[in-house]
Amino acid sequence: MKSKKIVLRFPATSADQPLIYYLVKDYDLVVNIIKANINPHKEGTLIMELSGANYEQGIEYIRSCGVQVQPLTEEIVRNHDRCISCGACTAVCPSGALYIERPEMNVVFDGEQCIVCQLCTRACPVRAMEARF
C-alpha cells in the first residue's frame, strides 16, 4: 500500500469543492492533512499524506478536478548570499513565507510559513530559492 506526502495546488475556481470528502468516500483512502491554506475564491494549497489501495486512482481524480499534484519535497531554503531582495517572489508566494520588511524593503523568508509549493524556485530570477529533498 502506497503512502506519500503530496502537495495539492487548487486554482481559485476549485478551492471550494469537497475533494477530500470524495477521496475518503469514493476511493477509500486514508488522508492525513499536514498543512492547509485554503480560502474561498482564492488559490489554495494543501499538504497531506495519502495512502490506500486506490492511491493512483485518487490522484487521477484530484488531477481531473484541475488541481495540481506534486510530491512534497522536504524543505525550501534560501541561499542568502544569492538573494538580492528584489521582491519578485513575494506576491507569487501563496503562504506569506516570503515577504517584504518595510520600510527597508528587504525580503524575509520565514521557513515556518512555507508550504513547499516551490513557486518561488521558479519565480526567483537569480535562483536563490532551492528545494532540498
Binding site: I84, G87, A88, T90, Y99, M105, A123, P125, V126
Partner: protein, 405 residues
C-alpha cells in the same frame, strides 16, 4: 534670485571634502523640513540608484590574436553565442543570448538557466570562461578553429556597453487572463492575483531628473560597481512628463540611457545573470547617477517622493503582447511599495522586480565616493532629447511573416 551653482563650484567643494551629498531618499525629508531654497543652498549632490534586470546590456571584448591568426566568424563564450560580425578578434556578447542547445520554451515554461548575463557575471568574477571560435579561413587568417580558456585579465579590452538601461519608468504588470503567464515582468497569476512593478521609484535615476537637465552624454556614473559613463540616449528614448493625479505629482515615462564602462573595474556583486521563467535570460545591472543641485528646479524634481511618482498599469495577457494602447489606470510608487493595491475594486498583492534595498546601497556607495573626493561630477558634452523635443516611437512596418523562421 534663487540658488545657482555650477559644476565647477560643486567639484571644488568635492575636492576640498566639503561637498554635501545626500541620497535621493534622504533629500525628500530634508526638503520637507528645511524647504526647497534652504536645501538647494545646502545640498550639492543627490545620488540615485537602481538594481534591476536590464535586457539591453552586453560586453564587447577583444580576445587577442592566436598564432596562426583566426578571424572569428562564429564565437561562443561558455557555450553562449557571441556576435562575430565585427573585426577578427572582437566580439559582442549580449545579456539575453542563450546557448544553441537551450530547450527554450519547448517544454513551456522554459527555465533559461544560463545566458549571456551569467557569462558576464562569471567573467567579472574573474572565473575562467571557455572561448570557442570558428572561422572559414582566409589567406591572412588561416586558422579555422580554437577552443581555449580566457579570464578577464587576459582580455585586451572588456567594455560593458548597454544600449538601453535605466528605464525612467515602467509599466506595472498585471494578468487579466485566465491562465498564469510568464513574462519579463515575472510570473503573473490569472485574474489579477498579483501585480509587479519594476523601478526603484524615488531612488530611480531618470525619475529624479525627468527633464534631463543634468544627465547627458558624458555624465559619469556608478555602473556595475565601477565607474561608467552615459554614452548617448538609450534606444527607445521617448521621454515625456505629464502631471499625475495627485497635486504636484508626475507621470514620467520613456527616457533611457546608453551606458558604458570598463568591465575590468566592475564587480560581480552588481552584474548578475538572471533567468525569467518562460521568458529568457537577462542581467541585473546596478546603476547610480549623481544629480548636481544646480538650482531649486533641479532639486524640486530630485526630491519627488514615491507618493509623487506614478506608473501605468498594463494587462500583460492582452494589451501588452498585442500592443493595444490600453491602461488600467495609474498607481503611485507609494501605493505599489505598500504591498497592496486596488484596481477595479480588487485588492491585489504587489511586488517589485527591482531591488529597492540594493538601489539604496548603490546610492549610498556613490555618496561615499563623492564625499570621499574620489568621484567628481562631469559636465555633459551634449544634452539628451528632453520631453519638450517630443520624440515619439515608430511602430514596425508589418509585412507579414512568410519566410521568417
Amino acid at each position: 534670485m534663487g540658488v545657482q551653482k555650477t559644476y565647477a563650484e560643486i567639484n571644488e567643494r568635492i575636492r576640498q571634502g566639503k561637498a554635501v551629498v545626500v541620497t535621493a531618499e534622504e533629500v525628500i525629508q530634508l526638503v520637507k523640513t528645511e524647504g526647497l531654497t534652504e536645501t538647494a543652498r545646502k545640498v550639492d549632490v543627490v545620488t540615485t540608484g537602481t538594481f534591476s534586470p536590464m535586457c539591453s546590456s552586453g560586453v564587447y571584448l577583444n580576445f587577442g590574436h592566436s598564432a596562426p591568426r583566426i578571424r572569428g566568424h562564429k564565437v561562443w563564450l561558455n557555450g553562449v553565442p557571441a556576435y562575430g560580425g565585427i573585426a577578427a578578434v572582437d566580439t559582442y556578447l549580449g545579456a539575453t543570448a542563450l546557448p544553441d542547445d537551450d530547450p527554450l520554451n519547448s517544454s513551456f515554461p522554459g527555465e533559461f538557466r544560463y545566458g549571456g548575463g551569467h557569462v558576464i557575471h562569471e567573467l567579472v568574477a574573474g572565473k575562467p570562461v571557455t572561448l570557442k571560435v570558428w572561422s572559414y579561413g582566409t589567406d591572412c587568417y588561416p586558422r579555422r578553429e580554437i577552443e581555449t580558456e580566457v579570464t578577464l585579465d587576459q582580455l585586451n579590452e572588456a567594455v560593458l556597453f548597454n544600449p538601453r538601461n535605466a528605464y525612467q519608468n515602467y509599466n506595472v504588470a498585471v494578468n487579466c487572463g485566465s491562465r498564469t503567464i510568464y513574462t519579463y515582468m515575472g510570473m503573473l497569476k490569472p485574474h489579477m492575483a498579483n501585480i509587479h512593478y519594476s523601478t526603484s521609484g524615488q531612488l530611480s535615476p531618470l525619475l529624479k531628473d525627468p527633464h534631463f537637465r543634468t544627465i547627458g552624454v558624458g555624465t559619469k556614473i556608478f555602473l556595475g560597481g565601477g565607474e561608467g559613463y552615459v554614452a548617448w540616449n538609450g534606444t527607445q528614448h521617448f521621454p515625456s512628463v505629464q502631471s499625475g493625479p495627485a497635486e504636484n505629482s508626475i507621470l514620467a515615462a520613456g527616457g533611457t540611457l546608453t551606458v558604458l564602462g570598463d568591465l575590468k573595474g566592475m564587480s560581480p556583486k552588481w552584474l548578475l545573470g538572471a533567468s525569467f521563467i518562460g521568458y529568457g535570460a537577462t542581467m541585473v545591472v546596478g546603476i547610480g547617477i549623481p544629480i548636481p543641485i544646480l538650482d531649486e528646479e533641479v532639486l524640486r524634481y530630485a526630491a519627488l517622493s514615491d507618493a509623487d511618482l506614478y506608473a501605468p498599469v498594463v494587462d500583460y495577457s492582452d494589451a501588452y503582447p498585442n500592443r493595444k494602447p490600453e491602461s488600467l489606470g495609474l498607481l503611485s510608487y507609494a501605493e505599489l511599495k505598500s504591498g497592496w493595491v486596488t484596481i477595479k475594486g480588487k485588492e491585489i498583492p504587489s511586488a517589485p522586480l527591482s531591488s529597492y534595498s540594493k538601489a539604496k546601497e548603490i546610492a549610498e556607495i556613490l555618496k561615499d565616493w563623492i564625499q570621499g573626493g574620489k568621484f567628481e561630477l562631469t559636465v555633459p558634452v551634449k544634452t539628451l532629447p528632453t520631453p519638450a523635443d517630443g520624440v515619439v516611437g515608430k511602430p514596425m512596418p508589418d509585412k507579414g511573416t512568410s519566410g521568417v523562421k
